[in-house]
Symmetry: D2
Subunit: 233 residues, 4 copies
Amino acid sequence: MNFDVRHDFTVELVQHAGDDEMICRAARVSTLGAASIDSEESAGLIRFLMKNRHGSPFEHGFMTFRIQAPIFVWREYMRHRIGFSYNEESGRYKELEGVVYIPPRRRNLIQTGKPGAYEFVPGSDIQYDYMLASQLDVHRVAWQSYRNQLDAGIAKEVARMILPVSTYSTAYVSLNPRSMMNFLSLRVQSDKSLFPSKPMFEINEVANLMEATFKELFKITAAAFEDANRVAP
Amino acid sequence: MNFDVRHDFTVELVQHAGDDEMICRAARVSTLGAASIDSEESAGLIRFLMKNRHGSPFEHGFMTFRIQAPIFVWREYMRHRIGFSYNEESGRYKELEGVVYIPPRRRNLIQTGKPGAYEFVPGSDIQYDYMLASQLDVHRVAWQSYRNQLDAGIAKEVARMILPVSTYSTAYVSLNPRSMMNFLSLRVQSDKSLFPSKPMFEINEVANLMEATFKELFKITAAAFEDANRVAP
Amino acid sequence: MNFDVRHDFTVELVQHAGDDEMICRAARVSTLGAASIDSEESAGLIRFLMKNRHGSPFEHGFMTFRIQAPIFVWREYMRHRIGFSYNEESGRYKELEGVVYIPPRRRNLIQTGKPGAYEFVPGSDIQYDYMLASQLDVHRVAWQSYRNQLDAGIAKEVARMILPVSTYSTAYVSLNPRSMMNFLSLRVQSDKSLFPSKPMFEINEVANLMEATFKELFKITAAAFEDANRVAP
Amino acid sequence: MNFDVRHDFTVELVQHAGDDEMICRAARVSTLGAASIDSEESAGLIRFLMKNRHGSPFEHGFMTFRIQAPIFVWREYMRHRIGFSYNEESGRYKELEGVVYIPPRRRNLIQTGKPGAYEFVPGSDIQYDYMLASQLDVHRVAWQSYRNQLDAGIAKEVARMILPVSTYSTAYVSLNPRSMMNFLSLRVQSDKSLFPSKPMFEINEVANLMEATFKELFKITAAAFEDANRVAP
């Protein structure tokens, strides 16, 4: 085939600043040289801030990720405006590589229920195979067209108009713990959520990868978020 | 064909509030019953605010548009976060209609120059015809696949992954005069611009339609923006 | 006395755009000419959006207020950044009028309980009278000093440094229904709130006045917010 | 005296992430393991981004400061909403220490010129001494009143209403290089500025301290900002 197929997502931590203790320092507006707060007291303060929705101390941390996801995921992702910074590669200036997303076999394929109360359930093997063949077929034609147009001298930004929204794109994403929790509250499906959300499978997968890193970097904060039923402060 | 082709964009004003005089009132923090400012004085004040980059009074106006544009335009558009609100139709819940964008013959097709200094120039008729045929070909396969997948019971949000980024989508966009001018400064190519921008043809077309409405609603402000060499305050 | 005393706040609606039906149109991304939705259906849609925290349709409305409040209230108010626009009069360029806030007799004067769990209860008449006399005394000296400094040729921006934070200031505030509900969820104390907040008395008073106007302009939305236990979408 | 007097400001760097090279990586959306870019190439890329107002790569850095400044400075400071996070100590829950700002002798005291074209020039020694005596006098009465009210059992949030806006307050401020440059373009008076600004002396002093740290952390970016006549990208 004239393109590569992936069924997964990449979320790499590039840099970060801050930790649970820094959030406590910001909440107390304490001096740099202040005696370190013991971790029991920190945990109590963070739970208090979370429960009472004092969100601003959670803005004094920082994470930058490099993420690879299909365009239709980026379209949802970039609706998150507050406390998010983005830099995405551009198909205007660079020939795109030809990596496309096809749902993995474990993804639910069938939508049931009524508007406002949809559920997703597994499809049959035949349905999966049909979807797979049909999508690969379009990609084959699309990538052939893209490269033919480039060969004919057509500008990249014109030729790429024909590429499907399942084409992968890469971006740098920077955010803070507060914007992270807002994102997770909307993009992760969890039984613990006081306000249950039904995110699309693919953005939920990306969010899961982000949450795993968040738990490592801001352990107490991430636990307090879970204890607060995933209500973002 | 199993889809409709368009070469243009739709920008409809849905509602608005405020005018040049309201911007002056906000700048003066004047009372509701205050004697109306004469228009000469208003124009002087607005030019002063623009030139000295006092931007906040220009936030006290409001415009809502209903816009139809291809997905690849929305991807650029939604990078504008500050002072912008969006509501876009979703391909997760609704079968998409099959309207696609093909560049009009007057659009420049060829990219020349080096990275960081690209220019766009017209292509030959043969190049245009080749691009047209090649893109239509992909759309035919893609829309056939989309509908076949739906017929096979595949969820809309899965089937649509195969649709090209030139598929039209509709959204409500609300913004204020300040965010409008920021948008125009970046998305309209103009000889008057102190900081010249080289926007993509398609978003420039959308921006032109928005600017026409802006000039009607906020006449003095739009003129002062032009006089200030299109530097957003 | 060389200054005026107030115990209250002014919140005037200056302009607005949008209503409950526009929020529904934005949610449906429906055309301008679309058949009007009946109000029962609108109410159902708005309750659905609110309950499922689909916040973006609530951004397609607009309200501008002219508000008079003491500086210490503005200091809390302006922490609301998202979806808020401000234009406040400046003490750098204009001689301030000398209007000051003294808490009314009905305001609770005494703070009890522990950090993180404070309550406010009424003070005695003697305590109120003492507070009143003591604060008036400072204002008398401060406003005398302010005007003496101006008479001595000192710049307004220097002379005003001595003015108390209970000095009134006036600002234009523009916001949308979504940012309004976020503000109300944090700045109004209500038994209905799922996440109870304990705002300062004075900002709660301002918020009450804003909520009264909000209920008139966006009747269904305001009711759905209340029904959803004042959780902002 | 029953309070301390300061004539200066404190700006301490608390934490940071990112550097000039990270901005280049974000602009190129390059991989973590990518070969390090040589510094000459980095400088060229950063100058290109700055000149062409490609602002988003400059958001992938982070600085947190702990700042001590008078309330009237915070009032201007917190008008910066985009890309800024704040946590300020609260006079509602904590007895304030009694540290007040009096302008230093080198500060210009006299405002001349017309509205829209003010200049500040030095005052006489007598004027300075008069301002000093007058302001100290008010502080003496105000801080006596504050503590008397507290002794009488009045809540902190009520008693503090009488404190002048020159009272110091401390806050954590987090921002990124892009929001830093926007702040500096408006709050530093410089002959190099294409759009000259006339900030208040006190916020200019704070901004100078911030810029000194910014130059150390993002050396190439800060130099490119200066070369671009202090126009924020």
